[in-house]
C-alpha cells in the first residue's frame, strides 16, 4: 500500500515538474495573431530577465494521415532556431533537412506510428517521423489535438519566399522565474499592436493540464498521502502486537538477567528478519500494480514517467517499511522490559485493571466469549480496529471517488450546467432553434480564456451569457449574490482563492484583445470548470471589451424531452455539453485502472489486516483454544468463538470506517482536491452496503480459514503452547 501510494503520488504529483525539466518548458508562452518575426523578436529581447526565447509559427486545423488514421485538426508547429520546449523521448530532433517531422508520443502510441514511419500532411505530402516529443504545455493526443513539429529551415528550403515569414507563438525562458510578474507586466506594456494576445505561464499551463485530470490527480495524490499514513499506523500496530504476544518470553529472559537493550535489540532483529522479505515483496508488488497504469496516464498528460527517479523514494519506502516495524517492535520491547519480570511472567500485557463487573452470562454463547477474548487485549483491539477502520474508509472513499468521477465525466449537472447541448451557430439562429421541439431555452454562450490583469500568471475562464446565466449554468452560490448589474461578475471559488477575491472586490480581466475588463465581484460560486478559475460575466461587458470572444449556442432541453432527438434536429453543429474532465474516454479509462489498482491493493490490505488479527487472536489464544478443545469444543464451536472475536474487531472498525469517511476523509479529500467547489465525496448507501458486505465476507473467510487451521493440528500441541 505504501508503495502504491508512493508510486501514484510521486508519479502524478510531481509529473508536471518532471515534464517541465525534461522538456525545458518555457516560463512564458505568448500566442498572438501572426506578426512579423523581427518586430516580435525586438520586443521580446527588450524584456527583463530573458534568458532566451524562440519564435514559432503554429498552424492549426491541419489535415494529417498515417496508415488507417487521420485527423483534420492537427496542430503543426514550425520551429526555428533556439530552445525547443519539448523533450525528444524517442529518435532525434529535426536537423533542418526536408521531409522530417516530429510527432508527439501520445499520437505515436495511439496511432501506432514507429520511428521512421510516415505521416502525410496536407500540402506537404509524406514526412518521415524522425522522433517523438513530449511537452507538458498541453495534454497529449487523444485528449488534445495531434501535435507535430516541422523545421522552418526545411520548409524554407522547399517553399522559399512563399513561406509565411510571420510568427504567432513566442516561447520565453527566464533567468529568474521569480520575476515572472515583472516580466509579464513589461510584456503587456509593449504588446501593443499584437492582436489576440494570450499569455500562458508555467503555472497557467499547469492549470490547463490539470483541468484534464486535475481533480482526479489531486484526489489520488491526497488519497495516497492518507493511505501512506494509515499504512504506517498498520505496520506499527502489527509489530507492536507481536511484542505483546511475547511478553512472557521477555519476562523469562529478563528474569534470567538479560539486559534491557539486548532484549529490545533482539525483538528488533526479529522484526527486521520478518520485515526485509515482506517489505521487498510489498514494494515490488505495489510498484508493479500501479506503475504501468500511472505511466499510461502520464503519457496522456505529456509527462514523462518517473523511471529511475522513483528508485530513491522506493528505497526510502523500503527502508521505512523495515524501520517502522523494527522500531515498533524494539520500542515496546524496550518499554516492556523495563517492567518487573514478575509482572511479565504473569502474562500481563498492561497494568491490570479491575475485572469488569459484566460477566459471561448463562445464555451467552461462545461468540461472546470470543468477543471477550478479543476485548481483553484492548490496546490491540483499538489499534487493529483503527487500522481496519481506516482501510474501510479508504475503500469507501475510493468507491465514492469512482462515482463522483463518472458523474463529473458524464453528467453536466454535476458541474452546475443545465444545458445539454451546444451548437456552433451564430446568435442570429437563436429564434430558429427555439422552434425545435424539446428545446426549452437557447442563448449564445461566450467563452474567453483570459488572465487576471493584476496577476498575469493567473488564467481565468470567462463565461458570458446575454441574459440570466443561471438558466444555463447555475454553479452553487457559496457567498454573495448572483449578478444583478452589467458591471458585476460571479467568480469561481478557485479564482477567488487564488486572487483573494470576496464579494465587493474588483475583478480585472486582461482579455486577448488587450483590454482590461473590470467588474465588481457579486458572488463566489463553486465550479469545477478550469479548476474553479472561472468568471461568469454579462455578455455585454465582455463583448464591449473583446468583440472577438468565441461564441456557441447553449441549448437547454425541456425535462423529459429526448436530447438525442434535439441533437439530431440540429445536425452536425450540435455537440453535447461536456463535463470537467470530459477530454476523452481514454483518460477516464486510465484513471479507472489506476483506481482499480489502488483499490485492489487497499482491499488486499484490508483482508490482510483481518487475517492477521484472527491469526494473532488464535495464535496467542492457542492454549485457550486447545483447552476448549480438550474440554470438548468442536470445530464449529471454535469458529463461533473466532467469529465473536472478529466481530468485536470488525463492527467497531466498520462503524469507524463509515464515520471516518463521512466526517473526515471525504470532506478533507474533497477540500484538498477541489476546494473551489462542493464536490461530494461522502459514500452513499450502496457504497457503504458494498463495503460492509465485503467486510462480512472477508471476516467469514478469515474465520473459516483460521478455524480450519487451528483445529487441524493435535490438541496437545496447543496445550503445550
Amino acid at each position: 500500500m505504501l508503495t502504491a501510494a508512493l508510486v501514484v503520488s510521486d508519479s502524478l504529483g510531481r509529473g508536471f515538474d518532471r515534464g517541465v525539466r525534461a522538456a525545458d518548458l518555457p516560463d512564458i508562452i505568448v500566442r498572438f495573431d501572426p506578426a512579423p518575426r523581427g518586430r516580435v523578436a525586438r520586443r521580446v529581447a527588450a524584456l527583463p530577465d530573458v534568458a532566451g526565447f524562440s519564435l514559432r509559427q503554429e498552424a492549426t486545423g491541419v489535415f494529417i494521415e498515417s496508415g488507417p488514421h487521420s485527423s483534420g485538426s492537427a496542430s503543426v508547429e514550425i520551429v526555428g532556431p533556439g530552445r525547443r520546449g519539448y523533450a525528444i523521448v524517442g529518435g532525434r530532433d529535426l536537423t533542418g533537412r526536408p521531409g522530417q517531422v516530429l510527432i508527439e508520443r501520445g499520437l505515436a502510441t495511439s496511432w501506432g506510428i514507429p520511428l521512421g514511419g510516415t505521416v502525410e500532411l496536407a500540402d506537404l505530402g509524406a514526412q518521415r517521423v524522425v522522433g517523438f516529443t513530449q511537452s507538458p504545455d498541453d495534454v497529449s493526443y487523444p485528449l488534445a489535438v495531434p501535435r507535430l513539429y516541422l523545421s522552418r529551415t526545411a520548409l524554407q528550403a522547399r517553399f522559399g519566399t512563399q513561406l509565411d515569414p510571420r510568427v504567432n507563438v513566442a516561447q520565453i525562458w527566464l533567468r529568474d522565474p521569480r520575476n515572472l510578474d515583472e516580466v509579464l507586466v513589461q510584456a503587456r506594456a509593449t504588446s501593443y499592436g499584437l492582436h489576440g494576445l494570450r499569455f500562458v505561464t508555467r503555472s497557467g499551463v499547469r492549470v490547463l493540464i490539470d483541468q484534464a485530470a486535475g481533480i482526479v490527480i489531486d484526489l489520488l495524490v491526497a488519497l495516497s498521502v492518507i493511505a501512506l499514513v494509515s499504512a504506517v499506523v498498520m505496520l506499527a500496530a502489527s509489530a507492536r502486537a507481536e511484542v505483546q504476544r511475547r511478553l512472557r518470553a521477555i519476562g523469562v529472559r529478563r528474569a534470567v538477567g538479560a539486559p534491557r537493550g539486548h532484549l529490545a535489540a533482539a525483538q528488533g532483529l526479529e522484526a527486521l528478519l520478518a520485515a526485509v522479505p515482506a517489505a521487498t515483496l510489498g514494494v515490488v508488488a505495489g510498484a508493479l500494480a500501479t506503475y504501468s497504469p500511472t505511466s499510461r496516464l502520464l503519457t496522456l498528460l505529456n509527462e514523462p514517467p518517473p523511471g529511475t527517479g522513483l528508485v530513491g523514494p522506493l528505497l526510502a519506502v523500503w527502508l521505512a517499511a523495515i524501520a517502522i516495524p523494527v522500531l515498533a517492535a524494539a520500542w515496546p520491547a524496550w518499554r516492556a522490559a523495563g517492567r518487573p519480570a514478575v509482572e511479565l511472567l504473569a502474562g500481563a500485557e498492561l497494568p491490570r485493571r479491575r475485572a469488569r463487573a459484566s460477566t459471561w452470562g448463562p445464555r451467552a454463547g461462545l461468540g461472546l466469549l470470543g468477543a471477550r477474548l478479543a476485548g481483553a487485549r484492548r490496546v490491540r483491539l483499538v489499534t487493529t480496529a483503527t487500522a481496519l477502520g481506516m482501510s474501510c474508509a479508504f475503500i469507501l472513499l475510493m468507491l465514492a471517488l469512482a462515482s463522483a468521477l463518472s458523474a463529473l465525466e458524464t453528467d453536466p449537472r454535476a458541474l452546475g450546467k443545465r444545458y445539454q447541448l451546444t451548437a456552433g451557430l451564430p446568435s442570429s439562429e437563436v429564434a430558429h432553434i427555439r422552434q425545435i421541439p424539446g428545446v426549452q431555452a437557447v442563448a449564445p454562450r461566450y467563452e474567453v480564456r483570459a488572465v487576471d490583469s493584476f496577476s498575469l500568471h493567473e488564467t481565468i475562464d470567462v463565461i458570458a451569457y446575454p441574459g440570466d446565466h443561471t438558466v444555463f449554468e447555475a454553479p452553487a452560490l457559496l457567498s454573495g449574490t448572483r449578478i444583478s448589474s452589467p458591471r458585476q461578475a460571479e467568480v469561481g471559488a478557485g479564482l477567488a482563492d487564488a486572487l483573494g477575491l470576496v464579494p465587493g472586490s474588483t475583478l480585472a480581466i486582461e482579455l486577448p484583445s488587450g483590454t482590461e475588463l473590470r467588474l465588481r465581484v457579486s458572488g463566489i460560486v463553486g465550479s469545477f470548470d478550469h479548476d474553479g478559475r472561472v468568471a461568469y460575466v454579462p455578455a455585454a461587458a465582455l463583448l464591449a471589451a473583446d468583440p472577438s470572444a468565441s461564441e456557441v449556442l447553449a441549448i437547454r432541453v425541456r425535462p423529459g424531452a429526448d436530447v438525442a432527438a434535439v441533437s439530431a434536429a440540429l445536425g452536425p453543429v450540435a455537440a453535447p455539453a461536456s463535463g470537467a474532465i470530459a477530454r476523452g474516454v481514454p483518460l477516464v479509462d486510465t484513471l479507472r485502472s489506476i483506481l482499480r489498482a489502488v483499490a485492489i491493493v487497499d482491499g488486499l490490505v484490508c483482508l490482510y489486516a483481518l487475517l492477521q488479527t484472527c491469526a494473532l487472536t488464535v495464535q496467542e489464544r492457542r492454549r485457550t483454544i486447545a483447552v476448549l478443545q480438550a474440554l470438548g469444543a468442536a470445530g464449529p464451536a471454535i469458529a463461533r468463538l473466532l467469529a465473536g472475536a472478529v466481530l468485536a474487531l470488525v463492527v467497531p472498525a466498520a462503524v469507524l470506517g463509515v464515520l471516518l469517511e463521512r466526517l473526515v476523509l471525504g470532506p478533507i479529500l474533497a477540500k484538498l482536491a477541489a476546494g473551489y467547489a462542493a464536490l461530494s465525496l461522502t459514500a452513499g448507501a450502496p457504497e457503504v452496503g458494498a463495503v460492509l458486505g465485503g467486510l462480512a465476507l472477508a471476516s467469514a473467510a478469515a474465520v473459516a480459514w483460521v478455524a480450519a487451521q487451528s483445529t487441524r493440528g493435535a490438541v496437545v500441541k496447543g496445550l503445550a503452547a
Binding site: 529581447a45 507586466v185 499592436g193 475588463l517
Partner: protein, 498 residues
C-alpha cells in the same frame, strides 16, 4: 575656500531636520553616489539591480599618451535630461507610448519620481564638491511652469512638492485606470503600494551651492519635446480634461509620426497636431482637477527663467553663453533647440561665428563646448564641429539628449577633442557625470570622468532606478549605460599644437 552663505546653511539645516524627522524619506543617505566606489548592476541578467563593486578609471589614449596629472584645473559635473515632469498633467500624451518608436518617451513607469531623482543627483553632486555644474538640458519634460519651478527648487535646494491639481496624483497610473498598458504601482508587478501618493509628497532637496550653468533642451520648451505649445495644448494643460486612452481607430501606422515628412526631427505641422488633439478630445476623456500652475511656458519665458536662476545676463533669445571656471577652463554653451517644434538639434544662424569668436576669446584656457543635442546629429552641426576641429584648446564637446553614456574621440589637426554624451536622469542608468580637468606633465590635459548614481533618501530613488531598469522600452534594452569605456575613464589629450 568657499564661504557657506547663510541661505545655504539654512537649507542644510532644514534638510538635516527633515531627515531626522523621517519626513518624506526614510533611511539616511550615506552613499556618495560615486560609481568608482560602488554602483548598481544586474550581473545575472535577471532584471534585479544589486549593489556591486565600483568601476575604476580606465585610460583612453586615442588623443594623447597617458601622463601623470600635475594639477587639478577644475572639477565639474554634467547632469542632463532630468525630465522633471508633472505626471498629472492633462497635456501629457502617455497613450502614444504604446505605439513604440519614436513615442516611447511619452510614458515611463518611473515618471512620477523625476523630481526626487534630480534631488538625488543633486545630493551626489554635492558630495563631489565641484567648481561648477552643467545642467545639460531637458531639465523638464513638457515646458510647463510648475515643472520648471520644481526642477529649479531641487537644484537650488529647499522644499519641493511635485504635485499639481489638488496636490495629489491624477495620472494614468492610478489603480482605477483599467488600461493595462500603463504600469500601475498599486496593482502591477513590481507592486509598490502607495507609491503614487508618496511621489507627490513634499521633500527637501539639499541643493547645489555651486554655480549651475543651464543648457536648453527640446523638452524645456516644447510639449513632449516635439510640439511648440498651441492654444489647444495650452488649454489642455491647465484644464480639467485629460486624454489617457488612444482613441479607437486612431492608430498611427508604424513609421508615421505626428511630424510632417516622417522625420522625427522635422518641424511639426500645427494643423495636423491640432486636428489630432481635437479628434482625440472628442473621444473618451478623464476629468482631473484644473491647475493654472501647469501653464505651458514660451521659449522666451523658459530661457529668461533659466538665465535668472543661473545669474547669467538677461536675454530671452538663444541660451548661448560662455563662462570661465577657474583660471584655466572655459565653458561655451550652445543652444540648438528648435523653437518651432521638433526634438532634434539645429544650429541657429550666426552661432558658428559666435562660437568661433568665443573660442578666440578663450586665450590659453582649455575649452569645453556644451550643448543639449550632440553636434554630430544636429542639423548644421558639422559647421560647428568644423570650427572646433580647428581650435587647439578645445578638449571636449559635451551633450545629452540621446540618454546614453558615450565617449568618442574626434582627432583633428589641431589636436582633437572628446565628444561626450551623458546618460539621462529619467531613463536607466539615471546617472550624472563627474568631470575633473587636470593638467598633465608636459603641458597636456587629462579629463578624469566617472558616473554618479543618484542618492535620494528613502526608497523612492531606488524604486525609480529599478522601474527604469525593468522598462522594456527604457535604457536597459537600449543599452543607455554605454560600454565600460563610455563611463569611468581618464581621457588623455596631447598638449595644444597651436
Amino acid at each position: 575656500m568657499r564661504r557657506v552663505t547663510r541661505r545655504e546653511a539654512l537649507i542644510e539645516l532644514t534638510a538635516a531636520g527633515a531627515l531626522l524627522a523621517g519626513c518624506g524619506s526614510g533611511a539616511p543617505v550615506t552613499d556618495s553616489g560615486s560609481t568608482v566606489v560602488s554602483t548598481w548592476t544586474d550581473a545575472m541578467g535577471t532584471g534585479n539591480l544589486e549593489r556591486s563593486s565600483g568601476e575604476a578609471l580606465l585610460a583612453r589614449t586615442e588623443l594623447g599618451p597617458a601622463r601623470e596629472g600635475a594639477a587639478i584645473l577644475t572639477t565639474l559635473a554634467h547632469v542632463t535630461d532630468a525630465h522633471v515632469l508633472d505626471a498629472s498633467s492633462p497635456a501629457r500624451v502617455p497613450f502614444l507610448d504604446r505605439l513604440g518608436e519614436p513615442f516611447q518617451s511619452t510614458f515611463r513607469p518611473q515618471e512620477t519620481l523625476t523630481a526626487q531623482v534630480l534631488a538625488g543627483a543633486v545630493r551626489a553632486i554635492r558630495g563631489l564638491r565641484p567648481d561648477a555644474v552643467i545642467q545639460g538640458g531637458d531639465l523638464i519634460d513638457n515646458a510647463q511652469s510648475n515643472e520648471l519651478t520644481w526642477a529649479l527648487e531641487a537644484i537650488r535646494g529647499g522644499a519641493v512638492r511635485p504635485a499639481s491639481g489638488r496636490l495629489g496624483y491624477y495620472g494614468v497610473q492610478l489603480a482605477e485606470n483599467p488600461d493595462p498598458f500603463y504600469y500601475r504601482p498599486d496593482l502591477d508587478a513590481p507592486q509598490h503600494l502607495g507609491l503614487l501618493s508618496r511621489a507627490v509628497r513634499r521633500f527637501i532637496s539639499p541643493g547645489l551651492p555651486t554655480p549651475v550653468y543651464p543648457v536648453l533642451g527640446d523638452h524645456d520648451i516644447l510639449v513632449a519635446g516635439e510640439l511648440a505649445p498651441t492654444d489647444v495644448t495650452r488649454g489642455l494643460a491647465v484644464g480639467e480634461h485629460a486624454l489617457w486612452e488612444l482613441p479607437r481607430g486612431l492608430e498611427l501606422p508604424p513609421g508615421l509620426s505626428l511630424t510632417a515628412g516622417g522625420s522625427p526631427d522635422g518641424p511639426p505641422v500645427p494643423v495636423l497636431v491640432d486636428q489630432f488633439l481635437v479628434q482625440a478630445l472628442a473621444g473618451p476623456k478623464v476629468r482631473v482637477p484644473a491647475d493654472p500652475a501647469r501653464r505651458q511656458l514660451s521659449a522666451h519665458e523658459v530661457v529668461a527663467e533659466l538665465r535668472a536662476a543661473a545669474r547669467l545676463p538677461a536675454d530671452s533669445g538663444l541660451l548661448d553663453y560662455a563662462v570661465d571656471v577657474g583660471r584655466s577652463v572655459r565653458l561655451i554653451v550652445v543652444d540648438l533647440a528648435r523653437r518651432a517644434g521638433g526634438s532634434g538639434g539645429r544650429v541657429h544662424p550666426g552661432q558658428a561665428d559666435w562660437l568661433s569668436a568665443e573660442l578666440d576669446n578663450a586665450g590659453k584656457r582649455w575649452v569645453i563646448v556644451v550643448s543639449h543635442h550632440p553636434l554630430v546629429s544636429s542639423e548644421g552641426g558639422e559647421q560647428l564641429l568644423g570650427v572646433l576641429d580647428g581650435h587647439p584648446r578645445v578638449i571636449a564637446a559635451i551633450a545629452g539628449h540621446i540618454h546614453r553614456n558615450e565617449i568618442i574621440p574626434r582627432p583633428s589637426p589641431a589636436g582633437g577633442y572628446w565628444m561626450i554624451t551623458t546618460a539621462s536622469l529619467i531613463d536607466y542608468p539615471q546617472q550624472a557625470r563627474a568631470i575633473r580637468v587636470l593638467e598633465t606633465a608636459g603641458g597636456g590635459v587629462a579629463l578624469e570622468m566617472w558616473m554618479l548614481d543618484h542618492v535620494f533618501g528613502g526608497d523612492l530613488g531606488q524604486i525609480s532606478r529599478e522601474l527604469a531598469y525593468l522598462d522594456a522600452q527604457g535604457g536597459r534594452p537600449r543599452r543607455f549605460s554605454g560600454d565600460r569605456l563610455d563611463r569611468n575613464v581618464t581621457l588623455y589629450r596631447a598638449p595644444a599644437r597651436g
